[in-house]
Amino acid sequence: MNPIYWDLGDGIEIRTFTPDDASESFALVEANRDRLHPWMIWEPDTQTADDTRAFIVRSLASETDVEANGIWVDGRLAGTVGLRVDIGDVAAEIGYWIGGEFEGRGIITRACRRFFDFAFDELGMHRMELCAATENGRSRAVAQRLGMRQEGVLRDGVRTPEGHKDLVIYGILEDEWRAQR
């Protein structure tokens, strides 16, 4: 899919990673391993900037997804956000993480809002989905802030470096999103 570039204001920018961003992106992983380890299966497998580069290249090759995008705050990489379209083109799922230094400022919520607009208005999605481990309170708070509805708990729905964990699934429909924005 075409790369994106959005200026969200207040010094926050989102743009699709290119392979040239691999070093900066990997450095952010290195600085946040303790935060990522409980949730992200790819954390232990991300050992060099080449691993990050491979992820970016793979993402860029996708015809449907825009998985690898960076969030920059005042020119510094703060986190990652991306979107995967489900088979059937009805729904897309959003995923994200942010460096500890940038947490608690609503940056992820703003990034998700922009992605939801994009998914509903430009990709024609009918529904957006967000999955978070049951015990990941901060991630779940994002879904709640976005006005999403909790729809179920997928038992052992995600594998993390610490083992399988239950996954809460949140959903929001296009008319619900339009009604609240």
């Binding site: 299966i41 059937g88 729904a91 529904r127 729809e151 179920g152 429909l173």
Partner: protein, 184 residues
């Protein structure tokens, strides 16, 4: 990954029904069933929107018969008669697989789909080493929901309006089964 090289089919499901991979030669049989049951199946099955001509169906059949083949193209046969389809679709990480299915009206209510699912679940856990199997069925599709309920799946929630059929969007009930539950 996802055990692409594994090919434990065909499986004899009993009662004269065999679960085997589709072959490209099955195109005419498959197209005949689709034409005959299109209206009934399209209520729930999104793929029928993309199967407008026999060429569409040939393209799909190619995709599931190309090596290395997975288990996405399973078919149910009574002799030379195609009576249904089942598929197992593992995720990219080798953790979860989803099963989907349909059966001809004339063969409904005989447990063929449940037996086919059992065979695929055995393969998913024992041969592919997956941890979890998911079945999603329209909340109002009582016959379809009965399959995971019968097989001991746990109802985990409703993905609102994630299904799309000829009548529009519909809610999908999500059912999950873990490897340790299947073994007991």
């Amino acid at each position: 990954m996802a055990g692409a090289a594994v090919s434990p089919l065909p499986v004899d499901l009993g009662r004269g029904v065999v679960l085997r991979h589709y072959e490209i030669e099955d195109l005419d049989a498959l197209w005949a069933v689709i034409e005959e049951e299109r209206e009934r199946l399209a209520v729930w099955m999104p793929f029928l929107r993309d199967a407008k001509t026999i060429d569409d169906e040939r393209a799909w059949l190619r995709s599931v018969t190309t090596e290395p083949r997975g288990l996405g193209g399973g078919s149910l046969w009574r002799g030379d008669d195609l009576i249904g389809g089942v598929g197992l679709f593992p995720d990219a990480f080798g953790i979860v697989a989803e099963i989907g299915y349909w059966v001809r009206r004339s063969e409904e209510g005989r447990g063929h789909v449940s037996r086919a699912c059992r065979a695929l679940i055995d393969i998913a856990f024992d041969e592919l080493g997956l941890h979890r199997v998911v079945i999603r069925a329209g909340v109002e599709n009582v016959r379809s929901r009965a399959v995971p309920e019968r097989l001991g799946f746990t109802y985990e929630g409703v993905a609102r309006e994630e299904g799309r059929g000829s009548g529009g969007f519909y809610d999908l009930a999500v059912f999950g089964l873990l490897d340790r539950e299947w073994r007991t």
